[in-house]
């Protein structure tokens, strides 16, 4: 999933319009949270999927894959909401009609909100999100932390995959006891590597004039036009209006 989403974020047609996408998603997310969920969820789902597949040209298979997995969790969650627990005369679990209504509303809200988050995640490179946050005056310490974490995640994730493969080649995961030990070895190796990486990066960046302070980078130019921003405002407004009028 890590690479699936990240690759799409860097290859879709809206990859340089992160500002407008953020505005669009903020509006749609507000709709998902504050409007009656059952009525507005279909509209939000239509808007987000249309935007992702037709607008940003994210492959439907990838988008659907990321959508289906959390929806599986939702199914269990919804079931829990349908059940009612009483212990007046012994523990009793029963189907609750009122709970079922809550479950329906929650499921609609969750599906709508999830598709909004996926739209943002699949279309916006993380480095552009960070650039926007920098413009919004989010403290530099936090941005630097996130930027470094983003870079490290992919380095360490490659190491994690390689270490686990190497352990499986030597049968390290054949039973629960050995697997726990292998997981511990992998975690310790990754920890050691994290420290070594940071130390080596420090030295590597020093040769480029780094003095231990902030990590300045040039912010990428945005490709979002005034029309993009107008659309980003219009679509959530339409969703809201339609929901409230119907």
């Amino acid at each position: 999933m890590l690479r699936l989403i990240d690759i799409n974020a860097h290859t879709n047609r809206w990859r340089a319009k992160t500002g407008a996408v953020m505005l669009l998603c903020a509006g749609l997310m507000a709709c998902a949270l504050f409007l009656p969920p059952v009525a507005c969820a279909p509209l939000i789902l239509a808007a987000t999927w249309l935007a992702a597949l037709a607008g940003a040209r994210v492959p439907a298979r990838d988008f659907a894959k990321a959508f289906v997995i959390p929806m599986g969790f939702l199914a269990t969650g919804a079931l829990a909401l349908c059940l009612s627990l009483t212990w007046d005369d012994g523990v009793r679990i029963a189907f609750a009609r009122e709970g079922a209504r809550t479950a329906l509303q929650t499921s609609c809200r969750a599906a709508a909100a999830l598709s909004v988050t996926l739209l943002y995640a699949f279309t916006s490179p993380l480095s552009r999100t960070l650039a926007l946050l920098r413009r919004f005056r989010v403290p530099a310490a936090l941005i630097d932390l996130m930027g470094l974490a983003y870079r490290t995640i992919f380095l360490l994730d490659e190491s994690r995959a390689a270490i686990l493969r190497a352990q499986q080649n030597r049968l390290g995961w054949r039973n629960a006891r050995r697997a726990l030990r292998s997981a511990g070895l992998a975690a310790a190796a990754l920890f050691t590597r994290t420290h070594a990486r940071a130390a080596r990066l420090e030295r590597g960046l020093q040769s480029r004039g780094y003095d231990g302070g902030a990590l300045p980078v040039l912010l990428p130019p945005s490709a979002a036009s005034a029309r993009d921003y107008a659309l980003a405002l219009l679509v959530p407004a339409l969703v809201a209006a339609t929901t409230l009028l119907l």
């Binding site: 690479r3 699936l4 690759i7 799409n8 860097h10 290859t11 492959p59 990838d62 190491s159 390689a162 270490i163 493969r165 190497a166 352990q167 499986q168 080649n169 030597r170 049968l171 390290g172 054949r174 050995r178 070895l185 992998a186 310790a188 190796a189 050691t192 590597r193």
Partner: protein, 266 residues
Amino acid sequence: MPPPILEARDLHFAWPGMARAAGLCGAQRLRALDGVSLALRPGARLALLGANGSGKSTLLLHLNGTLRPDSGVVLHDGAPLDHSKRGLLALRQRVALVFQDPDDQLFAGTLAQDVSFGPLNLGLAGDAVAQRVAEALAAVGLENLGEMPLHMLSHGQRKRAAIAGALAMRPRALLLDEPTAGLDPEGVSSLLAHLDDLNAQGIAILFSTHHLDLARAWADEAAIMSEGRVLAHDGGEAVFSNEELLQTARLRCAPHRRAQRAPGHA
């Protein structure tokens, strides 16, 4: 001729997201493997030659069952790979894969502890484990360094340590991904001498490399990979002397032409 230990038949495989990433980088490749067939016979010395990104590593990961092909099949002793947990356990005792970067494969504290990882996973008892560790370390010439912490070994020693870890499984086939990467001439010689010994004991060896000279000097047969396909697989010189083939596979670089120097910097 004995049947192959491992045989890949018409493997196709794409990494997730590969097509899209390729489009952005201006590359044409949509698949990592695009119809690969290859056989490794008992006791063979086979070099898998190919440029970076030609699909060598991906193929090796299929041969030991780490990856499953999108289509095609891998045969082990003539039977399709059993990808169940039990099937993979059996396969990996017979087919050991050693990655390019030793640091991804060494994770326990000392060299001997690391080599013992495989035998312990096999459920062997202390004595048997100790014996296998001693054997494997001796096979790569590290018998005196068992108590060394791994981070104190040189790069060449760590490369051999990773091979020792694989040998402790007592495999019949050893698949090595770029075993000489990062080694200096002496390191390469020493590694090849150890591979000679292992091969002489009957272990089939398949290694990937982009060094033509290395393959020529060491292997009995060579397979040339390019763009996810095996272009040729043959016994030695037939492959190495086919200049056109080597150019296509990007294994020969254009002879280096020095640029005109700016005056005043002589």
